[in-house]
């Protein structure tokens, strides 16, 4: 039987190839760069999936989503601060769904159903959208209603609402829905059908003791939704402390994000300057030599002398990785000149010898 290479590859994945089939696959792979790459890449990803880095802190991950999903069985204290806004989005979404539905209902002539229950305007949508926007740049009022579907066509009163749509937030993850992760959404589905998914999801994760807010509870829910706005933003020392903690725990992605935030939002703070050497070293350890070099250069320019020796070492190592031998040699020499009795002296001299400079 003459098998398509895909079938041969699949059987190879299962360790189910006969010697003849294996030979045929090898011959094909010799001639086909694509299949050769596919097999190599598959092995690469498989090694990753089975390697030590595949270890996953499931409980931590679940704790992080516990808030957004309102799973109260998981200790809320374990929830990461960065996910608070998502939790907030879910609450806000409920409010917006209710208010939007009310507005749409009024527009479509079913005013009688809700008019008695919902005030003409509920001043909650605008502050809600603004409050959640900073980190993931969720939808804003000024953005075009790009995801508006035909059945979503709503009057200006509804469309103008600066809505953060929960459907947009998760629709990218939903294979049955449109893909629009965190993309601008100018309006939500102004029909009961559209309200339903959020309600269903909420019902799926909330205990029976916490009933879904009814339409006439909208102002009360709005008050709940508004609560996180009052939460003070972390200051530079808090971000610095969190970044260092994340780095020490090996969560370099999180640490990197926090360091960047510190440098972006508090560029002139002492913490930002102090973070440069350790951020640079972390990037260097993570293989991002160019990023590390930038941080080390900034550190030499801005920081005090406390970690200057280490910064100069890091800078030389970054230049080594970037294969810039002339600059690297100058960096090692500068280190030797500035700190002749440094613990790095021997390393610097050895490297300079390798570079043929001393």
């Amino acid at each position: 039987m003459d098998l398509h290479p895909e079938d041969l590859i699949e059987r190879e994945m299962c360790g189910d190839l006969s010697p003849i089939e294996r030979e045929r696959l090898e011959v094909h792979a010799q001639q086909c760069a694509v299949c050769r790459l596919e097999r190599l890449a598959r092995a690469d990803f498989r090694r990753d999936a089975e390697g030590p880095e595949a270890e996953i802190d499931v409980q931590r991950l679940l704790a992080a989503v516990a808030g957004p999903l309102a799973m109260r069985a998981i200790p809320r204290a374990a929830s990461r601060p960065r996910m608070r806004h998502l939790r907030f989005v879910m609450v806000a979404a409920a409010v917006i769904s209710v208010t939007g539905f009310a507005a749409a209902a009024r527009w479509s002539g079913t005013r009688a159903l809700v008019a008695a229950a919902v005030p003409p305007s509920i001043p909650v949508a605008a502050p809600v959208a603004t409050a959640v926007a900073p980190r993931h740049r969720l939808a804003r009022a000024s953005e075009p209603p790009a995801a508006l579907l035909p059945e979503q066509a709503a009057p200006d009163a509804v469309r103008a609402l600066p809505v953060v749509s929960p459907a947009a937030l998760v629709s990218a993850a939903n294979p049955v829905g449109p893909v629009a992760l965190l993309t601008p959404v100018g309006a939500f589905r102004a029909s009961p059908k559209a309200v339903a998914p959020a309600a269903v999801a909420r019902a799926a994760v909330e205990p029976p003791s916490s009933p879904v807010p009814a339409v006439h509870d909208a102002p009360a829910v709005a008050a709940v939704a508004a609560a996180p706005i009052a939460e003070p933003a972390p200051d530079s020392s808090t971000i610095f402390r969190r970044a260092n903690a994340a780095r020490e725990m090996g969560d370099h992605a999180r640490a990197s994000e926090l360091y960047r935030r510190l440098l972006d939002d508090f560029a002139t703070s002492p913490e930002a300057r102090a973070s440069l050497p350790m951020f640079g070293r972390m990037l260097l350890d993570d293989g991002n030599a160019s990023g590390a070099l930038r941080r080390f250069d900034d550190a030499l320019r801005l920081s005090g002398s406390a970690l200057r020796e280490d910064v100069m070492l890091g800078r030389a190592l970054a230049l080594q990785r970037l294969a810039r031998p002339d600059d690297e040699a100058r960096a090692w020499s500068a280190l030797l000149d500035a700190y002749p009795s440094s613990v790095h002296t021997e390393r610097a001299r050895r490297r300079l010898l390798e570079l043929g400079r001393r």
């Binding site: 895909e6 990803f45 996953i56 991950l61 939903n174």
Partner: protein, 221 residues
């Protein structure tokens, strides 16, 4: 018989256990405990939802890491969004495949979207960031290059082709499983994979320097 190396989660160690599954995910197969759990969760049972999340979380996390790279700055955010998306999508789960496969597909889409957004925001990603080029052996650097190449290709493909490529190459799924989980006919999946590989071939042919770096310079006619 099908196999995939991200096929099952060992919930004690939260690590991948390579499996060879004899179960064909189809509507006619007996309802597994996981499918029942998913149905219960979709009906609003909080405990079932939590247990289900514990079941699928390792696979979701691995999928996101595969698509984005383990050291991507937003990998954890993407995993969280994927889990939230999974719970949101549970009402649409028809039980035709394992819930963890359903979750993995959601994770593929979520991670792809987050990655594209990050790429748009941050510009070209540093391909060397996935490996310590000073300390790593050459094989590891080559491996990182290949993975980065595949990930880079995903951004330029139509979503269906990109998804098939991820499920096939990154996650090692059988074509039949991809068809079942995505609800597409098997021949459609084959066609998508063929088109994705054609794009891969063009990319290799268009960039001889990269092809040489990947040791792929012998492109067939």
């Amino acid at each position: 018989m099908v196999c995939h190396y991200t096929g099952v989660a060992d919930h004690e160690t939260a690590r991948v256990v390579p499996i060879v599954s004899t179960e064909t995910p189809s509507a006619a197969s007996p309802r597994s405990a996981a499918i029942e759990l998913a149905r219960t969760a979709a009906a609003g049972d909080v405990r079932a939802t939590r247990r289900l999340l514990e079941l699928v979380a390792p696979r979701v996390a691995r999928t996101v890491r595969a698509v984005m790279g383990a050291r991507h700055a937003e990998v954890e955010d993407a995993a969280q969004l994927a889990l939230i998306g999974f719970v949101q999508a549970l009402p649409s789960f028809r039980g035709e495949c394992d819930p963890s496969q359903f979750a993995a597909r959601i994770a593929v889409r979520t991670a792809g979207a987050v990655r594209r957004r990050a790429r748009t925001r941050l510009g070209t990603l540093d391909l060397s960031a996935d490996v310590d080029t000073l300390e790593a052996p050459p094989e590891e650097i080559e491996s990182a290059r290949r993975k980065a190449f595949i990930r880079g290709l995903l951004d330029g493909l139509p979503e269906e082709q990109s998804e098939v490529l991820v499920l096939r190459i990154m996650l090692g799924w059988a074509l039949k499983d991809i068809a079942t989980t995505s609800g597409a006919p098997l021949n459609t999946v084959r066609s998508r994979l063929r088109l994705a590989k054609e794009a891969l071939r063009r990319r290799i042919a268009d960039d001889p320097v990269l092809a040489e770096a990947l040791d792929l310079s012998e492109v067939e006619s």
